[in-house]
Symmetry: none
Subunit: 224 residues, 4 copies
DNA sequence: AATGAATGAGCGTTCATTCAT
DNA sequence: TATGAATGAACGCTCATTCAT
């Protein structure tokens, strides 16, 4: 008659406690004892569910990564045009990341820790996947636009910014906006979602240079 | 005052050594002893030039901040249109940050450490300044465009994305692209400079939504 | 009383498991969990049969001590001359100790732990008894020899090495040979039994000083 | 102008303190803090001279091993007959080991710890060397005897106990007598030196089987 | 009786900082 | 100014033991 503890639930409780502590003190200053106290258990018990301190950070990363992966999957499989799905992805990412400020804060520590090649956290792969998904959507979006508007537009757009570079900018902007919010709560992520979409999702609205060609008549965007 | 010069130079040598060590091992794993060895001095001597371990990180941040401030000053005082100056700022920021990978890596640690309100590093202020400068340039750029193209364009663009939000996206994209490069050297910052400019600097080229207004005729960018 | 039997059997199973674990990892590195797993029970159950970790080591010692005591009893009560019984004791001790290498290995830990005066293991008494038994046999053997060969020999031998000292050497040699076997399996205890007997049991064959009798003519060392 | 501390001397002081603590409490129960306090320094300072706790034990072993090696060297290179040198070796070993009871006690812990194959202490090799040296002396001693007394004696002796086995018994007896002294201070090692020599060094006096030659007449055991 | 989750005291080790030289 | 030996507080982790089930 073994005691029945829901290992998975207990693990999640501890992880949530760890995220709160990491967010409050920073990973570097977070003590296992703090995590245990926050979780309402004894220090040693943490080790029944996690391999060690670093393992907690890693688990937090996997949480974030799993959410990201879910968003990417939805964007890839979802309905609507590619532009719509990309816009939804951007909006979703902002919503997701800004939903749990503690977790977002911990992301900074994950970034700092994950920079090492020997880190269990493969940030390079995570962002590579992210970029690849966004780039694919961008290409589809361009194709859609080209179909709707004519070949010249497609050619012109493609000449300007490659999908890969564009994707890097999109992903970067997302993370960069998150970063500013973390440093300064006055930066409202919700208020940045739409600007991100409009500025970076093709066909979603006025881009930065949109005005350039707007009133001018037939002249499309000019390279350089 | 040769002594003063020597002292300043020695301080810089130590800071440079610290940045190398921080970049190599990460701030968390960097030992004062490592820094001293890298600088070719004794451990205790570090304390003759810096208050302590954290002080080294702070000094590294001030280095980065000073370079940023210089760029912002140039952008504010420089010649050319606001759009040109903004483009130059973006290009300069990319160049600057990617010039010293070690320093850029340390930025991750600075971010992680500077997240706390009690940190000596005021990241919030640094990015606030950054955004303000970019927002000012954006507004100027829009004014320039409006002057060149007519009132309707200005109004339309302004309605879509506020300069502050736009600035946050610009700054975020810069930092976010840097981030990706740090995780994955295959991401080439130099190759991202131009895309950043084209996508985010008004009047610099085809924006994401550029195609929207391209072939469509006289109708400017449509909201939503 | 089936319960009693079961309980004793279970206790022995656990002890055997403990001996295997101690032998494998060393007592210092042996975990109660290891013992439990080896015994196929839960960790907490060990405490139903033993007071604690140290108690397991103590029980292992008692096992060894009991076997020794049995050998000593047989030697004291057995048939044959004292020399024969002493030789049998030596051979039996070698056989006994080398029969269970795991247990012999644990002896090292018992020695290390039993060195303290406050240890529950009274090594001093154990070896005192051992020496006393061997010394008694040695004296008897000498008396037998004296009876068979004449007074002068007895007196000479006694003058050289006291029975107590001789016994200490015999016991020491036994333990010392065991020790070497434990460190180096290439040392074959079985091959050392006869040398031990011949070198240290009076009347059992050529001693180290065999040369003493060498000039005596044709009579070489006689087996048995 | 670096502080001048005699590193080697300080290291020895700490090691001596460690040996005292190990002897008092046993290695298993000895705390680094105890060692530091015994040495009159701070806990952390121990690590300036030793890699860790285990390193202290290892260093203690090397001390013992070095003394043994010195004895073996003297025995191999010394003057006198092989029998004399072997006797001197035995006496020297007893003297050496019994000179520092603390160190001898620690030997028990070294034995217990060195039993593992992955231990930094190679007990097997240490005892192999010891046996080899003793075996060589034994063979020489037999040759000397044979030369002095005739071929038949040599053949007879050799037939009985091989030099290797004899050496194992000699080494074992030494260690085994030490062991008994450690458990029971009433066992006087000094009093066992001569018995060891007489019983186990050929030609050194009456061996166990001395009686074998007793029938030869009035010649009792001859010293030396 | 048996379990195994929980506990928490305890220890090895690290390393930022100090300070006598 | 420079050194580097010394310090000792701090912390991650272990694991023997307990006890509710």
């Amino acid at each position: 008659m073994p005691k029945k503890v829901d290992r998975a639930r207990r693990r999640e409780e501890i992880l949530a406690a760890a995220v709160r502590v990491f967010a409050r003190r920073g990973y570097a200053a977070a003590r296992i004892d703090d995590v245990a106290r926050e979780a309402g258990i004894a220090k040693g018990s943490v080790y029944l569910y996690f391999d060690g301190r670093e393992s907690l950070l890693h688990a937090a990363f996997e949480d974030v990564a799993a959410r990201s992966a879910e968003l990417l999957r939805e964007a890839a499989e979802g309905d609507g045009t590619a532009a719509e799905r990309l816009a939804a992805l951007v909006r979703g990412a902002v919503t997701e990341l800004s939903a749990d400020r503690d977790l977002a804060r911990v992301l900074l520590d994950i970034w700092a820790a994950g920079r090492d090649a020997d880190s269990p956290v493969d940030m390079a792969a995570a962002y590579r996947d992210y970029r690849a998904a966004v780039a694919a959507l961008l290409e589809q979006a361009r194709a859609e636009q080209a179909r709707a508007e004519g070949v010249s537009a497609e050619g012109a757009a493609r000449a300007v910014v490659t999908p890969d570079a564009h994707a890097a900018v999109v992903v970067g902007a997302l993370e960069g906006c998150l970063l500013q919010w973390l440093f300064d709560p006055a930066v409202d992520p919700a208020a940045l979602a739409e600007p991100l979409v409009r500025l970076l999702v093709p066909g979603a609205g006025a881009g930065a240079g949109a005005g350039a060609g707007s009133g001018s008549g037939g002249d499309g965007p000019r390279p350089r």
